[in-house]
Symmetry: C2
Subunit: 192 residues, 2 copies
DNA sequence: GAACCATGCGGAGGCTGCCTCCGCTTCCTC
DNA sequence: GAGGAAGCGGAGGCAGCCTCCGCATGGTTC
C-alpha cells in the first residue's frame, strides 16, 4: 500500500526524468493504446531510450507506474462498497468501475488479463488488493443470497474481464452501454 | 458461399505455392497464434516472402483462407440448428461452437472481433453467413419466449465474443469450462 | 570550491518483423 | 520451340524492441 521504501532516493535529474516519462507515457497510451512506441515516449519526454529502459525495464513496469493511482483509488472504492447496504448492487458497481478503469487505454484489458496469471509482472501486485476486495464483495453478495452460490471468483473475474474487453472493442460505445452489458451479465439472457 | 469464380485459373506452380502457404500458415498460427511471423510462414512453405504477399496481400486474407472451411461448416451447423426443437438450447449450442472455433488460434477472437466492424476485411465476408444464422437463431429463441426480448444481436455477439475471448485467456481451461461460462451468461449471475 | 566517483544518461547498433518493388524465371500457348 | 503473360524471390527500406558501454553529472566530502 504505497510502500515507497526507496532504499536510496533518486538523484534529482533521475527523479525529473522518471516523472516526465510517466507523464508522457500516459499521454502516449491514451493516444495510441498500450502498444504505443516506447521510443516515442522517450523522445516526447526528451530522454534517450536507454533512460526509459533503466527506469522501466518492461512495458508493464511503465504501465504500472501510469496506472498506480487509479488502481489504489479503485481498491479504496471497493473497500468502501463493503459497507454498502445492497451487496448485489455493490458488486455490480465494483465490476463496473473496474471495467471502466480497464478500458482507459486501448488494449489495457488484455494486458491486465495476462497479468493476473503472471505473478512476476509489475502490474500483478497492483491488482492484488483490488482483486481481494472483489472477492470480499462477491462473498458478501453470495452470503446475502442475492448472487448464485456456485459462482467462483475465477469465473466472475473472467466474465467481468470478458465484458470489459468486448466493450472496449466497440469504440463507438459509451458508459451507458457498459452498464447495459453488466445488467445482462448479472440478470442473464434467459427470459424469466 | 464457395463462389470460387476464379476469372482465370492459377498457373500450376502458383496453385501449388498457394496450397503450401495455407497449410504452413495453419501450422504456424496453431503454434504461435495469429501474430505468427509471415516471413516464417513463407520460409516453411519454401517460397519467398513476395510470393506470400502476392497471394495474400494482408494477414487477414491468409487467415481467411485458413479458416474458410471451418466457417462454412459453422454456417451449415447454424442453419441445421434452426430446425432444432428447443430454440434456446439451439442458440446456446451455436454460440458455443462459434466460441470454440474462435479460439482455434491464440488471438483469433480479437482478430474476428475487429473484423466484424471492418467491412473491407477479407474475414468479414466469411463471417456474414454465420452472423446471419446467429440472428435467425436469436429471433427464433426470442419468439418462443425462452430468451429475453430486449436482447439485441449486437449485445449478444458482443457478449459471446467477450466470453470466448476471456476463455481464450485462460490457457489451462478446456471445453467444459467454456460450457460453464455460457451457462452463467445465459442464466445470469443473480440467484433466483 | 575542488576533486572524486557512484549514479545516471544517451544513442548506436543488432535484431526481428513488415511490406514493396522490380529484374529474373517459369509455365502455357500457338 | 519461341514468345509473352504470369508468377517468383529476396534485397532493401522502415519501424520498433532492447542492450551495452563510454561519457556526463549531481552529490558529497574535505
Amino acid at each position: 500500500m504505497g510502500g515507497e521504501t526507496t532504499a536510496r532516493p533518486l538523484r534529482a535529474d533521475a527523479r525529473r526524468n522518471r516523472d516526465r516519462l510517466v507523464a508522457e507515457a500516459r499521454a502516449a497510451f491514451e493516444q495510441d493504446g498500450v502498444t504505443a512506441s516506447l521510443e516515442d515516449v522517450a523522445a516526447r519526454a526528451g530522454v534517450g531510450i536507454g533512460t526509459l529502459y533503466r527506469h522501466f525495464p518492461t512495458r508493464e513496469a511503465l504501465l504500472e507506474a501510469v496506472l498506480r493511482e487509479r488502481f489504489d483509488a479503485l481498491g479504496a472504492e471497493a473497500r468502501t462498497l463493503l459497507g454498502h447496504a445492497r451487496p448485489r448492487e455493490a458488486l455490480i458497481t465494483w465490476a463496473h468501475g473496474f471495467a471502466a478503469a480497464g478500458t482507459t487505454f486501448r488494449g489495457l484489458t488484455a494486458a491486465l488479463s495476462a497479468t493476473l496469471r503472471d505473478e512476476s509482472s509489475a502490474l500483478h501486485a497492483s491488482c492484488v488488493s483490488m482483486r481481494a476486495a472483489g472477492e470480499a464483495l462477491l462473498a458478501r453478495a453470495q452470503h446475502s443470497g442475492e448472487i448464485r452460490a456456485d459462482l467462483t471468483v475465477i469465473d466472475l473475474s473472467t466474465l467481468v474481464f470478458g465484458v470489459a474487453w468486448a466493450y472496449e472493442q466497440n469504440s463507438g460505445w459509451g458508459p451507458g452501454d457498459l452498464d447495459r452489458l453488466f445488467r445482462l451479465l448479472f440478470d442473464g439472457l434467459t427470459a424469466r
